[in-house]
């Protein structure tokens, strides 16, 4: 990076060259300091991100209640999962009017979470809220961190099982794969990966994202809703799961 004067021999140029040499010597330590700081940052990045287990934390793949702030969805290569649906498919959520699925038992969906561990969504004997999200959907991209903040602040709701279904997985759309997105968001809710045809979402009658299905302990639908939720609406869903009936939010 030197640019030495070309006129050799003259006194001014020799002085300038000497001055330049001194300047180079004095700035050398600045470069060494900068290199050292960058090296330290690199080492810290490696140590902090490889030792806290954030990339390999294990959720409860059987769908047990997540412990917010402690576990995240496991990283893994499963971007599109195998899905087996048994039981009767829920009808689609009608636009206005009563939801025809209320009172109907949800089908059982057997699949995998992101690391290939088996996971099941279906009647389990405890009230459950099922969240359906799509990696490319801007509303889901806002709702997931919002709900995660709520869970981190309030803890997992007692007596209510939370599960999620990552559906509409498409490598041609943004934010793919869903697993990396949810790990980035430190998502603590056990999440199943839907198949290429989104059979899991279809079995739940999903018509938009994000999508929420509240079911009672017997697996019967209490309430379904679609779209971003406010904290009040989310708490109303939890209350509905606990009480067994839909709760007003206003």
């Amino acid at each position: 990076m030197s640019n030495q004067p070309s006129s050799k021999g003259s006194a001014p140029s020799r002085v300038a060259a000497a001055s330049e040499q001194n300047a180079q010597n004095s700035t050398r330590w600045v470069w060494i300091g900068i290199a050292a700081v960058v090296l330290v940052v690199g080492v810290l990045a490696f140590v902090f991100t490889r030792s806290d287990g954030s990339g390999s934390g294990s959720a409860t793949p059987d769908g047990g209640a997540a412990t917010p702030g402690v576990t995240v969805v496991p990283s893994g290569k499963v971007a599109v999962g195998p899905i087996v649906v048994t039981g009767t498919q829920l009808p689609e959520l009608a636009n206005g009017g009563a939801d025809p699925a209320v009172g109907q038992v949800i089908p059982t969906i057997d699949g995998q979470t992101f690391d290939g561990s088996a996971m099941s969504i279906g009647p389990t004997g405890e009230p459950t809220i099922i969240m359906v999200v799509a990696h490319w959907c801007p509303h889901c991209q806002r709702e997931v961190p919002f709900l995660q903040s709520w869970l981190t602040a309030n803890g997992a709701p007692e007596g209510v099982r939370l599960v999620a279904l990552a559906t509409s997985n498409d490598s041609g759309k943004p934010n793919y794969p869903a697993g990396q997105w949810l790990v980035r968001e430190k998502w603590t809710v056990p999440t199943m990966v839907d198949d290429k045809a989104s059979d899991g979402a279809q079995a739940l009658g999903v018509t938009g994202f994000p999508y929420f299905i509240v079911v009672d302990a017997e697996g019967k639908v209490i309430e379904r809703t679609s779209g971003e939720l406010t904290a009040t609406q989310w708490e109303a869903l939890i209350a509905a799961a606990k009480s067994g009936s839909a709760q007003p939010t206003a």
Partner: protein, 194 residues
């Protein structure tokens, strides 16, 4: 799993560098203020200031190059899709990975006349994008598209460091470095014109 861990490590690394950019901006600002306000000269500060001014131009180039490489890492290797606002920031930063390199080689601090306005535009776009990602409007923004939503936080380190925040940090640090960069020595100019 390795890919996820790698991007986590890289994001931590870039986010920390972004914070260090702000540390540099603050320290340089304080140093300049102290030098201007102080009636007597402080030898250590003057010596340090002279050294920093000498390395300012190549350091600004280094920041531009690292910013460009980081941006390419996320889009080409991690396949994060740049939104419209990301592209405006790229337009304002990428050229300086070359231009500032040439200026550093030629010791042409006069490049600030051309670079600072463009980087200031990049900083303004990045500031707006940072705000949008920190407080996503419910209805999105006019820049948001379903294919590449500008509200999507691909990176969110330390609870506030996003990709546009990194771009903002780089732009501000480069602007400050260019403003304090030592002008080209007369000897170099003479040799080039001879």
């Amino acid at each position: 799993m390795i890919a996820a861990q790698t991007v986590t490590t890289m994001s931590f690394f870039f986010a920390t560098l972004a914070l260090l950019c702000w540390v540099a901006v603050v320290l340089i600002g304080v140093g300049v203020l102290v030098q201007r306000r102080s009636s007597r000269s402080i030898a250590l500060l003057e010596s340090l200031s002279a050294d920093i001014r000498r390395v300012a131009l190549p350091l600004a180039w280094l920041i531009a190059a690292v910013t460009m490489l980081g941006s390419l890492y996320y889009s080409r290797i991690q396949h994060y899709i740049p939104c419209e606002l990301c592209w405006y920031q790229r337009i304002c930063i990428y050229p300086f990975a070359v231009i500032l390199g040439i200026a550093a080689w030629r010791r042409d601090a006069g490049v600030r006349v051309y670079a600072v306005p463009v980087l200031a535009i990049g900083a303004m776009v990045a500031a707006y994008h940072t705000w949008v990602q920190a407080y996503p409007p419910v209805d999105g923004t006019s820049f948001c598209t379903a294919d590449a939503p500008c509200t999507l936080r691909y990176v969110w380190e330390f609870g506030f460091v996003s990709l546009p925040f990194m771009a903002l940090s780089a732009c501000c640090c480069m602007i400050v470095l260019l403003l304090i960069a030592r002008p080209a020595p007369r000897t170099a100019t003479t040799s080039e014109s001879s």
